[in-house]
Symmetry: C2
């Protein structure tokens, strides 16, 4: 593309201005464009390809565990949204309202779905009659709309793309198990595929989803020490079932309410990938979701045999199931190096006349720029191994950042001091009283992120009220 030359090597260093660094990557790696539809984004082919790879992985996981996809209407009539009190209070202030169809004023306003609990509940009330109909394990991939005031690409936009799972179960036990099973899948997706370490835990009541009894979360840490809530799984009990009349007859022929869950991950994961792995040269993409895993750059491409050999290598790697791009354009190798570094391609394969003579090529890793001379005879195995090493290395690096930036605190002053030095997570005890959580948030600016499953004993008492502590909580500033 003509303007690619301008595109590369023009990125604000991370330490200088992290927010600008992020915005630069989003633009220069050609992830996002803007339109006159303010607050929304255009997912360009490269971002869409990343999202499709994430979708494919997670869709496979949930189908393997018996979930089925459906598609619900894009609109929710106001009266339907109003059926569950807590839920509507949480969402009504931030929905987009359709008031006219064609030239006619509608009798009832419709909101563009901010989430689809209400639609799923209405549907479940139709199709669930007996214990034989349970569980219902449904999911949909779609976009949802929330009328945000301030927006940032991937992290907070008026429209975003996600999956929303909605399940109905005969018993509380089954529903609770589903909630946590899904959280495990989210953890697996984040750690094994996105190379993004996370803390698993439960949200406090203050931070839980509107209408949920419990919300579980995976929380990741970005380069700048801020948190990214990366996936949530909600247990609803029978609250929605009662509001929507979702009942079944059990084996004893008694009428029972179902127990429900919902859970979601979204395109904000792409923002998480940028801020977990990216560097001052641009994106760094985990191999499992990289649209291009290996870019082949011919050196001295005009010399006889070079392009042919490059094409042959591309074919060999593709046949082995790798996502490969051969860039045989007339741009210089140096230009191409910068270009694909910006785009975060994990491996660059350089091949020139001398390499061909020696039966070799050069593989260069995006993360540490390490160059390895590799025998062409053994190329597929070497490449696959190097992608594995690459994934492990970026995961370990992110893990070190996470683990090195969680600091215990025994009182509010310590929390402030920690944040003063460097933004990160703070772990502290908590009595369980929402007021104390509120005090910490107001004084330090940090809301609670979660009550981690892996608890530690830091203190006997709550740092605010001095009463006996119930949990260790992670606090942190979040995107």
């Amino acid at each position: 593309m003509a303007n690619d030359k301008k595109m590369v090597r023009e990125i604000t260093p991370m330490d200088e201005d992290f927010a600008q660094w992020y915005t630069d990557i989003v633009k220069k790696a050609e992830l996002i464009d803007y339109s006159s539809m303010r607050g929304c984004v255009i997912m360009r082919p490269y971002a869409q390809a990343i999202w499709e790879n994430i979708q494919k992985i997670f869709d496979g996981m949930i189908k393997e565990t018996g979930h089925e996809n459906v598609a619900m209407p894009i609109f929710i009539p106001e009266s339907l949204l109003n059926k569950e009190k807590d839920h509507v209070e949480g969402f009504a202030p931030e929905v987009a309202w359709v008031t006219h169809g064609g030239s006619e004023k509608l009798e009832e306003r419709l909101c563009v779905r901010p989430t689809s609990e209400t639609l799923f509940c209405e549907h479940y009330a139709h199709i669930i009659q007996s214990w034989r109909d349970l569980p219902k394990l449904y999911n949909q991939w779609c976009s949802v709309v929330r009328w945000e005031k301030t927006t940032r690409p991937f992290l907070r936009t008026r429209e975003f793309w996600w999956q929303e799972g909605h399940t109905a179960h005969a018993t509380e036990e089954d529903a609770r198990k589903e909630t946590l099973d899904i959280l495990d899948l989210y953890e697996k997706l984040a750690t094994e595929y996105l190379c993004m370490p996370v803390i698993k835990g439960r949200k406090t009541d203050r931070e839980k989803f509107a209408g949920a009894m419990e919300t579980y979360t995976i929380e990741a840490m970005m380069h700048d020490g801020k948190a990214l809530q990366s996936g949530t799984s909600h247990y609803f009990g029978d609250g929605f079932a009662k509001a929507f009349g979702v009942q079944y007859t059990d084996k004893e022929n008694k009428l029972q309410y179902v127990h429900q869950t919902s859970w979601g991950i979204s395109t904000r994961l792409i923002g998480g990938i940028i801020m977990t792995h990216g560097d001052n040269e641009g994106l760094v993409l985990p191999p499992a979701i990289a649209p291009i895993q290996v870019v082949i750059v011919p050196v001295a491409a005009h010399k006889p045999g070079v392009l042919e050999k490059a094409a042959e290598i591309a074919e060999t790697l593709k046949k082995a199931g790798l996502r490969v791009k051969l860039d045989d354009s007339d741009q210089s190798p140096g230009w191409k190096y910068a270009q694909y570094e910006m785009k975060g391609v994990p491996l660059r394969l350089e091949i020139g006349p001398r390499d061909i003579e020696n039966g070799n090529c050069v593989l260069v890793r995006r993360d540490n720029r390490e160059k390895t001379v590799v025998a062409l005879d053994n190329l597929v195995e070497s490449t696959q191994q190097m992608l594995k090493d690459f994934a492990k290395a970026i995961y370990e690096k992110a893990k070190a950042n996470l683990e090195g930036n969680i600091t215990p605190a025994h009182n509010i002053q310590e929390m402030k001091d920690i944040l003063q030095k460097r933004v990160g997570f703070v772990k502290a005890m908590w009595c369980g009283d929402e007021h104390c959580e509120e005090v910490i948030k107001n004084e330090t600016g940090m809301p609670s992120r979660c009550i981690p499953f892996e608890q530690e004993h830091i203190d006997d008492v709550c740092p605010v009220c001095g009463k006996p502590a119930k949990h260790m909580v992670i606090f942190g500033i979040a995107y």
Copy 2:
């Protein structure tokens, strides 16, 4: 499911009431449910799985030919929609308008996209600068909204799911080629995968897309002789480019307008599949898109070894890449037969103690109920071959229906007489004057379907005005 027993064998015969037959299938095969969001539908897991199979096939085709997926905003500001005159006139009367975000009235109304030409054009104006940036071959999978008054599942609903391709090219020639290349892919999808024969042709000016210079179409014939427009591909010339300022500098450094196309297929294809292949027992699904290609029904399942053998067979077929379901529920075999016939599963595999003794099983075809005893040793090959035969047979049957119901007519009275006998397509000559087309529509109720690529000479003159004929046109009543 508890209410499955009610579900099967309760379907209005096609000849008695075709519309009711269709509605019955949609419901009893568990394709669609309704919600309080009137005019929209819920795509249940079985319909969604069919759609995902169609998506996968067509997405593969377009990616192989260099197209890339993107995701555009769900909303179009009114001023953006207004930029191309013909286009806005075509769509403004049938869009849903968002007027409020949260509690605030918006400064400008937003429509929920009925189609996304305007958004793609705005984006192309941003990202296209030089001839090197062309072509841009973009597509998106999404749902769109059109505020229809009367709706029917799959065929006409206020929201439907589709793909919309939008491409920009340096020259008219390239854009015209793309328009027709895509039409070929649509034909391939319809005939080879959906077993649905189609007529390829060009729409008259009266029937073309709002803003297009030319619209091409594939037209299928349903059981009842009505037409289903099953996919359209539009050539825009530089009309949109001029309205939106989509320009590039050519190799001579001169500023030029791009030439554009757009093209789409939608979930109405599922309606087409129902009405092309379905019968009085329910759905009949083409193997390429059937969520279940082979259902295994154990006979005398309580006898030792039967369920084990059935599970073993299921594994074998799955490993061969087939989509298989083993129904080992406690329902009777007869109940299961009816159930999977309703769902249109192409092959039923029956296996009982005697079969196992003999090293056989029985395969039953959904379309003609033909039973074949098949050796277990050779099961994968037999099954694959039978699925191929099945696909060929339902295609040939649909082709016979199409070809047997296109009747030539030399005047309007003949057209009326033909329709009187049986609804079908009528082929007749046409002078090219929109007035004559209008007369035919008003007098016979048939709009033109297309000017087929395969022309015949039926007459020298137009049947309405008697002036020299330019084309042979297909007329027909359409969904």
